[in-house]
């Protein structure tokens, strides 16, 4: 999994995509209305539509009012959800309360501790080998009574 910052940046980019997708949905599926008595919704003939360049922003495909409302609602909920996700990610960014100086001090301290621990580990390995040698000696001496 990516680190928190990258997750956050991805989430923001997704939010931008959702903005576009929401506008696109509204644009594409809204209902067609007549503004005056003389207006008439143009019926596009099949072969006419096929001849024209396909343009996704161009053609409106109305859906029923209920479906349209449900779609809008879902998109709006998704937007809010994404925004809350972003806020959550912001509040869990690593080390918000640590200043740079704190960090440096901690790194130095850890470095020293690591050195000590490594030294101890080496000592332990050495002792282990000594004990191993002693044990081997004991067992050999037992084998030849």
């Amino acid at each position: 999994m990516a680190d928190k910052l990258t997750q956050l940046q991805d989430a923001v980019d997704q939010l931008a995509n959702q903005f576009v997708a929401s506008l696109y949905y509204v644009h594409k599926h809204h209902d067609l209305k007549t503004l005056g008595a003389s207006d008439k919704i143009r019926e596009e003939k099949k072969d006419e539509a096929a001849q024209r360049e396909p343009d996704i922003w161009d053609k409106v495909e109305p859906v029923s009012a209920d479906e349209f409302k449900a779609g809008q609602r879902e998109l709006a909920q998704d937007l809010i959800m994404k925004e809350q996700q972003i806020e959550l990610l912001i509040s869990v960014l690593p080390g918000l309360d640590n200043s740079e100086m704190d960090q440096e001090r901690m790194i130095r301290q850890l470095e020293d501790e690591l050195k000590v621990a490594e030294e101890k580990r080496r000592e332990a390995v050495k002792e282990k080998e000594e004990v191993l040698a002693r044990l081997e000696g004991v067992i050999r001496s037992v084998k030849r009574p």
């Binding site: 923001v12 509040s91 640590n98 004991v138």
Partner: protein, 238 residues
């Protein structure tokens, strides 16, 4: 470079490593560290590297890191990169800065607050944009620009935060390693104590059985016990 090329490097799926990797043998590394120590161990060059040694035997020459390029740029896979690659400020990108930068780079709580505000502004501006699109679609441009500025500001703040996160990750990794090292030491100590106990036990068993005259059977027991110990050891040390 006049080293012999590996056979048909163009046909390989991945390019072969540069030939000088073969110079990095343990002996060579030890030799160069001795040479460095004999020179002047405390002196350091500006970039933190050990001082350069001029008259090296040819097999050690590649163990010395080359000078960084003087012009400050280098090429990699056909692209030019800068040695120093600072994050351009918003002013340099001629983007309006929507927040007052934190007074010092150390106060990150403000940063989270600004980020949250920006996120909320994004939503609000989108709402305004949809309103504009519904009533007067011609005027979309200004609002879209606002949204763009908000997004860029958001990303910029996050990118400024990256070095901080890198240090934070380093701290976590070091803590992990420390923990691991301590656990290992602890484990080795425990096994050592166990084995010492076994050795002492063996000594007393031997004495007791010598006393009882059951040497033959005792020997088998001890050998069996020794085998147990070996098995435990193998398990613990593997």
């Amino acid at each position: 470079m006049d080293d012999p090329q590996p056979p048909n490097p163009l046909a390989a799926a991945f390019p072969a490593p540069p030939p000088f990797w073969q110079s990095f043998t343990p002996e060579n590394i030890e030799r160069i560290s001795k040479l460095r120590a004999s020179q002047n161990p405390t002196k350091r060059e500006e970039n933190g590297l050990p001082p350069r040694i001029l008259d090296l035997p040819p097999e050690l020459r590649f163990l010395q890191p080359p000078e960084p390029p003087e012009e400050g740029v280098y090429r990699c896979f056909g692209d030019v990169f800068n040695l120093k690659d600072p994050l351009p400020t918003l002013q340099e990108m001629s983007i309006q800065q929507l927040y007052t930068p934190p007074p010092s780079p150390s106060s990150h709580v403000d940063r989270a607050l600004i980020l949250k505000r920006l996120a909320k502004s994004l939503l609000l501006n989108f709402l305004e944009l949809t309103g504009i699109m519904a009533t007067n679609p011609e005027q979309y441009e200004e609002k879209v620009q606002d949204l763009r500025t908000l997004f860029i500001n958001f990303h910029h703040l996050l990118n400024e935060y990256r070095p901080h996160q890198a240090r934070e990750s380093l701290i976590l990794m070091m803590q992990d390693q420390l923990e691991k090292s301590r656990r290992e030491t602890e484990g080795i100590r425990e096994v050592k104590e166990k084995v010492e106990g076994v050795i002492e036990g063996l000594g007393s068993v031997k004495l007791a059985e010598f006393g009882n005259g059951k040497l033959g059977k005792g020997k088998v027991d001890i050998v069996a016990e020794g085998r147990d110990v070996w098995e435990t050891l193998e398990k613990e040390f593997s």
